[in-house]
């Protein structure tokens, strides 16, 4: 089982993500320059945070049209787990692999702080080890993180279980005060219909070890441990198919 973290010019959370995957969770991980990325060599992929191509035109749009993201789309359609964190989420949105748009925060400020999200579904490749309703502490650090989609689409996404994370307060309620950027329905992360492609604005890789957290929590690790679990299950299914 091997996972890739794809680095674009301007990625800056790539090494943190590789560290957590390799040293905290224990999955074989390659850091791959986008031009050399071949999705067929990997069982899963993470697009890390940062400022790919300087956020020019719109955050994520230039990377979204790169050959590397065509490979990512192919992996997604094959059912392989695909995760986009922050700028990686923006790339998946701009590539049309996830629905909606991410606009400038409603406060028009770069928001960098610890927030709380609630896990809305445990059916995805990155939340299968987390119970629905579990509250996670993670940091956000972004300027363009306001999730927007038209009302009817959002309604369908709730119906189809595509809302993965929502910003909530300490009691686990999605309030306007707990929403750091003005996202519609406090949406912090979404997935595709199948649940194998997930994007979120918060940074699980910055909250996977207690030493990095003001509350000593390591909540973000569950995202990567769920990836491991997904890979294990997919591996077993594949081995089963090969035996039969």
């Amino acid at each position: 089982m091997r996972v890739a973290v794809v680095r674009f010019p301007g990625s800056n959370c790539d090494l943190d993500t590789v560290h957590v995957l390799r040293d905290v969770v224990g999955v074989e991980t390659d850091l791959v320059w986008h031009r050399y990325f071949d999705g067929s060599e990997y069982d899963g992929v993470v697009l890390p945070g940062g400022f790919s191509y300087g956020d020019y035109l719109r955050a994520g749009v230039i990377a979204a049209h790169s050959p590397a993201v065509k490979e990512v789309a192919e992996m997604g359609s094959e059912g392989k787990p695909v995760l986009g964190i922050c700028n990686g989420f923006q790339i998946l949105i701009e590539a049309g692999l996830l629905p909606g748009a991410l606009l400038a925060n409603d406060c028009l400020m770069f928001v960098c702080k610890w927030i709380t999200v609630r896990v809305e579904t445990d059916r995805t490749a990155f939340t299968n080890l987390s119970k629905e309703g579990r509250v996670l502490h993670m940091p956000v650090a972004h300027f363009q993180g306001r999730y927007v989609n038209d009302q009817s689409q959002v309604k369908e996404m709730f119906r189809d279980d595509q809302i993965v994370f929502r910003y909530v307060d300490d009691r686990g309620e999605p309030t306007p005060e707990s929403n750091p950027n003005g996202s519609v329905s406090n949406i912090a992360g979404v997935c595709n219909l199948e649940g194998n492609v997930v994007g979120l604005m918060p940074h699980p890789e910055r909250s996977s070890e207690g030493v990095l957290s003001p509350t000593r929590c390591s909540d973000g690790a569950v995202v990567f441990r769920s990836l491991m679990e997904c890979l294990r299950v997919r591996g077993e299914i594949r081995a089963g198919c090969e035996r039969s």
């Binding site: 191509y53 300087g54 020019y56 035109l57 749009v61 230039i62 049209h65 790169s66």
Partner: protein, 88 residues
């Protein structure tokens, strides 16, 4: 008095490099197969609704505003003001 639609475009002077325009051109447009596009300059775009007695007056007022409020930085920017018509 009528309401005129006035457009303000602010871009870098030709001598000032425009990394955003260059990246959009090289990494998105040319790589995306549109080699016929030979250059891109990025900038900021403002569309104003201006009350004035005439088209000329709306243009003059906008130019004065751009200068007085330093809507652009004359050291590095070129500012183009054009009246697009009357708001109906």
């Amino acid at each position: 008095m009528r309401t005129y639609v006035v457009e303000v475009v602010i871009e870098n002077k030709p001598a000032a490099r425009d990394p955003e325009g260059e990246a959009i051109w090289r990494d998105l447009i040319v790589r995306g197969g549109f080699e016929a596009v030979k250059s891109v300059r990025s900038g900021k775009y403002l569309r104003l609704s201006v009350e004035a007695g005439s088209e000329e007056e709306s243009r003059d007022l906008t130019v004065k505003m751009c200068n007085d409020l330093r809507i652009y930085n004359p050291v590095v920017h070129v500012c183009t003001v054009s009246v697009k018509g009357v708001r109906t």
